[in-house]
């Protein structure tokens, strides 16, 4: 029982990491149909932003970096959208190849700028260590990431449901042509969506500095799992991404506890393949008036 309870926060925190990364993809992949393999490199950019800010902000760099990384990664996404991706809308498999190439270039750029070896970001002292609650171990960094993920989901939900821009975004994703006819500048909405989606990757990158290495290949460890979350959750569905992320996190942590890490990965893949056979469009389906 104790083992079961101890794995619970671990599973939730893995889920939170996946969710933070998948949130951005939910926009760019789910809503715009762009398979952005460079999303992983936006995560890396966020992590390096925290690293750079250390000179100035010291141990509080992680906190300072959250908004800065959002803007840095967001701008990178915006530039990518303006220069390349907008020429490929409606061709998801082409965007996969295109952005994969971009991701390789960005990794090498990072290697040239920061060097091949890992760098480190010092966590604020109050995030090092952990406590116990009802006998369950709670590492502070993990709890912070969990809280951050919840905060991001709430912020996005408010943005989508309560702001004019958010509603325009939903309109474009449900029926681009009709939205355009109604006077919505779809191209500007695309830019905004890409900025937010990429910016969220930057935030995820800052969070990852708390648990792992900061190196040029940082994003590649997570990108595939994040895509699985988006696909399993149903493309573009916020609630789907949330449920899928925490489900995969928990599944991973329990299977790993009773077997090992390699087998856990296999089981997660197998479960997703099986699930997608039954529901190819994921947990939640976007209701749309579009004829597809």
């Amino acid at each position: 029982m104790n083992a079961f309870m101890n794995q619970l926060p671990i599973g939730l925190s893995i889920g939170a990491v996946l969710l933070l990364i998948a949130l951005g993809l939910t926009f760019t992949f789910g809503q715009m149909g762009v398979i952005n393999m460079a999303h992983g490199e936006f995560i890396m950019a966020g992590a390096y932003t925290a690293y750079m800010l250390q000179d100035w902000a010291g141990r509080q760099a992680v906190l300072v970096a959250l908004p800065v990384a959002f803007v840095v990664a967001g701008l990178m996404g915006l530039i990518l959208e303006r220069t390349l991706i907008r020429r490929f809308y409606g061709r998801p498999l082409d965007t996969l190849l295109l952005t994969w190439g971009v991701s390789l270039v960005l990794q090498q750029v990072a290697r040239d700028l920061f060097g091949a070896p890992n760098v480190q970001v010092k966590a604020p002292t109050w995030l090092v260590g952990g406590g116990a609650w009802l006998g369950i171990r709670m590492p502070y960094a993990r709890m912070f990431i969990l809280a951050l993920a919840v905060l991001c989901v709430v912020a996005i939900w408010i943005y989508l449901a309560r702001t004019k821009q958010g509603r325009r975004m939903q309109a474009v994703m449900q029926n681009r042509d009709l939205a355009a006819c109604s006077g919505i500048a779809t191209s500007r909405v695309d830019q905004r969506t890409f900025f937010i989606g990429s910016g969220l990757a930057g935030v995820a990158g800052v969070a990852l500095t708390l648990i792992g290495p900061v190196g040029p290949a940082l994003g590649t460890y997570y990108i595939v799992d994040a895509f699985l979350v988006v696909v399993a959750g149903g493309l573009g569905r916020l609630q789907g991404a949330v449920i899928a992320a925490f489900f995969l996190g928990l599944l991973n942590s329990y299977v790993e506890y009773w077997s090992d890490a390699s087998l856990a990965k296999v089981v997660v893949f197998a479960v997703i393949i099986g699930f997608l056979q039954l529901r190819p469009q994921g947990l939640f389906v976007l209701r749309s008036r579009k004829l597809t």
């Binding site: 893995i14 398979i35 091949a116 760098v119 952990g130 290495p213 493309l235 991973n252 976007l286």
Partner: protein
């Protein structure tokens, strides 16, 4: 824009297969061996000019670049130093640098290219056991020499490879002796899922059996794995006295960061690592590692005039903030050992060098290093160190002198049926 059912299914399928492909690359490439097209043996080396070419073959891109770039740097440093003093047998040494790209078949191809196109006299290179195993048949087939600079799992001896890093009895066994001397009885094994940790752990289990220690758990994670909470949970639940860590690369960063958050420090449960050197300490952060023991043959802080010279030269060449580590030092030694063997043989020919190599010795940064002609490994001093707050490693124990290499552990009765 939303997807049609078909597109969604297609996209999902391609993503899942991409994921599987990525996940299985490591295992698949482990099995591949070189079938590189070549000259079929006895490729000649070119020593006609005023210089002699040597190959330097390391991963300059990909996941292993983190570690291997530094070894390449120290090899080039040794070559520069040798050239400044007149070269080898009156010839300048001309390095041909190739990128193995962290991909084992590429290592085999590039090795073949260095031998047949560049006609190099010798090659310095490799880090992972997988890359060495891929290059081995190429060097054997062409009867050319490879100097391999990294500690490894032993149980190998190729007539055309010189092993200048530690074999198991010069690193892992002293590490275990150290834990035993500290009164550690229950050991937990954590390693990356490939040949080195699995072989090392086989040896460790035999040792434990013969020395009254108990292995209370054994966990492997894929290379590049970064989620260690569950492994750490299993470790803490098993209540070991110590952890023996054979994780490689980036995983160490995640492991130590996440271990720290459980609050179990090195005083209660030390984690002895055999793949964490100064460079890795910098990447992980000394905060997370201070007080943890490591086993190597060389540290930047190792005392001696020769080491001060080496550290100063390295910093002068590559930057004052750079650190030196065991594999870098072994790479540096490789060039000097080759030079000494060539001079003793008075020839660049591999067969002549092999015949002359026994007893060839140099004054290395770690102390005296001597080639053992029978195994083509080297005598090295074993050292246990503890990571300091400043990220350097402080020696706390050494073997008192160079240890004879014993790659097959023949001198240990408990290791007979490995």
């Amino acid at each position: 824009m939303s997807f049609g059912r078909r597109t969604a299914r297609l996209t999902a399928a391609s993503l899942v297969s991409l994921a599987l492909a990525l996940a299985t690359t490591a295992c698949a490439s482990d099995k591949s061996t070189s079938k590189g097209a070549g000259t079929g043996g006895g490729a000649s080396i070119d020593t006609s000019g005023s210089s002699v070419k040597v190959g330097v073959l390391h991963s300059l891109s990909g996941t292993m670049a983190i570690s291997e770039v530094t070894v390449k740097n120290s090899v080039l440093l040794a070559i520069d130093e040798i050239n400044a003093k007149g070269g080898v047998l009156g010839k300048k040494v001309e390095p041909v640098v190739e990128d193995g790209a962290s991909d084992w078949p590429t290592f085999a191809e590039k090795a073949q290219k260095l031998i047949s196109n560049d006609k190099v006299a010798v090659t310095f290179g490799g880090w992972t056991s997988a890359s060495r195993k891929a290059m081995l048949p190429v060097f054997e087939k062409n009867k050319q020499l490879l100097f391999y600079p990294v500690q490894y799992e032993g149980l190998e001896s190729s007539p055309y490879i010189f092993y200048t890093g530690a074999t198991t009895n010069q690193q892992i066994v002293p590490g275990l002796d150290y834990l035993k001397a500290q009164g550690k009885k229950k050991i937990f094994l954590v390693g990356s899922d490939y040949v080195f940790p699995r072989t090392a752990n086989k040896i460790i289990k035999k040792y434990a059996e013969a020395n009254g220690m108990e292995v209370v758990g054994e966990e492997y994670t894929p290379l590049g794995h970064t989620e260690y909470s569950t492994v750490i949970n299993k470790v803490t639940e098993a209540h070991p006295d110590a952890v023996f860590n054979t994780l490689n690369g980036d995983s160490n960063v995640a492991f130590f960061k996440q271990l720290r958050s459980t609050g179990v420090g090195p005083d209660r449960m030390p984690v002895l690592s055999v793949s964490v050197a100064e460079e890795e300490v910098r990447g992980i952060g000394p905060d997370y590692l201070a007080g943890q023991p490591v086993a190597w043959n060389y540290y930047q802080t190792t005392e001696g005039a020769r080491n001060s010279e080496f550290v100063a030269a390295y910093k002068a060449a590559y930057g004052a903030d750079k650190v030196t580590s065991d594999p870098m030092e072994a790479g540096y030694n490789s060039v000097y050992l080759w030079k000494a063997a060539v001079e003793k043989a008075n020839s660049f020919e591999p067969e002549a060098i092999k015949k002359a190599c026994d007893g060839v010795a140099i004054d290395a940064p770690e102390g005296k290093v001597t080639i053992d002609g029978a195994t083509q490994h080297v005598y090295k001093t074993a050292r246990i160190g503890v990571v300091r707050e400043d990220g350097l490693i402080q020696e706390v124990w050494n073997s008192g002198g160079p240890v004879k290499p014993d790659p097959y552990l023949k001198e240990y009765p408990w290791a007979t049926d490995l």
